[in-house]
Assembly symmetry: C2
Homo-oligomer: 222 residues x 2
DNA sequence: ACCTGAACACCGTTCAAGT
DNA sequence: ACCTGAACACCGTTCAAGT
């Protein structure tokens, strides 16, 4: 028997906490009921079923991420700040973000960021369909990178890891890896990547290319 | 009773087929046993448990994707061909790819592509740590884009969709969307994206930026 | 309006027993 | 070496019944 009356908000809170503490797999209706000190079936009265519960949880996460306030003096700088903010917020909620992704709502979660990107791309001088392409390209790049990064963190031990592939063979002239004659490159690939650096480097390169393209195409002809 | 003796390969084949036909959720040990006409427990003898079965399935998928043969006359063209090949192969196996991702093996699946990328980046004149950065940036971009694209396809109906956000408001001067005064941009964002076009456009922009950076940095100083 | 326990149909996995 | 059924501990969900 629950001391105070059970509320929908209380259920969502407990569910979110369960996911945060023990991962998405731990969120079962029965464990949740035990956590709340109620019968399993009470939960059904408040949230319908497990599917709806997950939907509500995801919706909460999306709301939590809030609006984006870009910072910086140039459009490129401000777009980079948007990327950095998104990365930080995502990394604070790894489990919930995974759930958002599994439910196919990743795009929806990034709509506020899209608004910010539109503003910056416009400020950089891009217009029309070309501006829309730039916005979407950057958006896909940011979201995609974060998904890959999270995926990579979750499984640190991979059968043939990069480090195996690119580590120098036993003999100096050895050779399964199709590495060209560039030991420094091989060494760099054998080292673990620095995701933050790679992230900013990638976004900056893409943004610069897209904005330069647009600017160049305005004065000159097609 | 199975007519012929049950083999591990047979189990994997049936499991893959089940996933392909009815999605990952349909792959339960009991359904698989029914499909094969054996007792559930026989499967355990051949593959250990469900976890190992999934591992083996993922391994199979990774092997199936095979080596990458780039085509084209310039490094940029050849890198784009790698991207196109990866996209096509991934889209042929949507369910299995989702499983690969969930198990954190996306990176591993793209190792053959990494080898091809290293070759092309080298051919374009990049060396050392800078070449490694370029390889990883392109790799993350391709993989990330494909994950986002798949995610987007899986849930076509999103609460506030892009089309809602950017559609022209009722009155001509209306206004919740923070869209700058660029109706063509708004219209472009309200239309569904063309993923193939966006994919190639993005990869091309990033690759050109990365390769130009490298080339420019060789003759000039730091 | 809210909560309950019993019951149903499903899981993955273990184990002792068969051949 | 390979296969089996029975059993265990878990699921999500429904439903009739309580207050």
């Amino acid at each position: 028997m629950a001391r105070t009356a059970l509320t929908r908000a209380e259920v969502l809170e407990a569910a979110a906490s369960l996911v945060k503490r023990h991962g998405p797999a731990a969120l079962t209706m029965r464990r949740l009921a035990a956590e709340l000190g109620t019968a399993v079936t009470s939960i059904y009265w408040h949230v319908g079923n497990r599917e709806s519960l997950l939907d509500a949880l995801v919706e909460r996460t999306v709301q939590d991420m809030g609006a984006i306030r870009p910072a910086g003096r140039t459009p490129v700088e401000r777009i980079l700040s948007v990327a950095r903010i998104l990365r930080r917020e995502l990394r604070e909620r790894p489990h919930l973000i995974a759930m958002v992704h599994e439910r196919g709502l990743t795009e929806r979660m990034f709509l506020p960021a899209q608004q910010a990107l539109v503003h910056e791309v416009h400020a950089a001088g891009l217009r029309g369909a070309r501006a829309a392409d730039a916005v979407r390209a950057v958006q896909f790049q940011i979201v995609g990178f974060l998904l890959v990064e999270r995926n990579r963190e979750r499984s640190p031990a991979q059968s043939p890891a990069e480090s195996d592939l690119w580590a120098p063979p036993a003999g100096s002239a050895g050779g399964t890896p199709a590495a060209p004659d560039d030991p420094e490159l091989a060494r760099a690939l054998a080292r673990p990547a620095d995701p933050e650096r790679l992230f900013l480097l990638s976004v900056r390169a893409l943004v610069q290319a897209l904005l330069a393209d647009g600017a160049a195409s305005r004065p000159a002809s097609r």
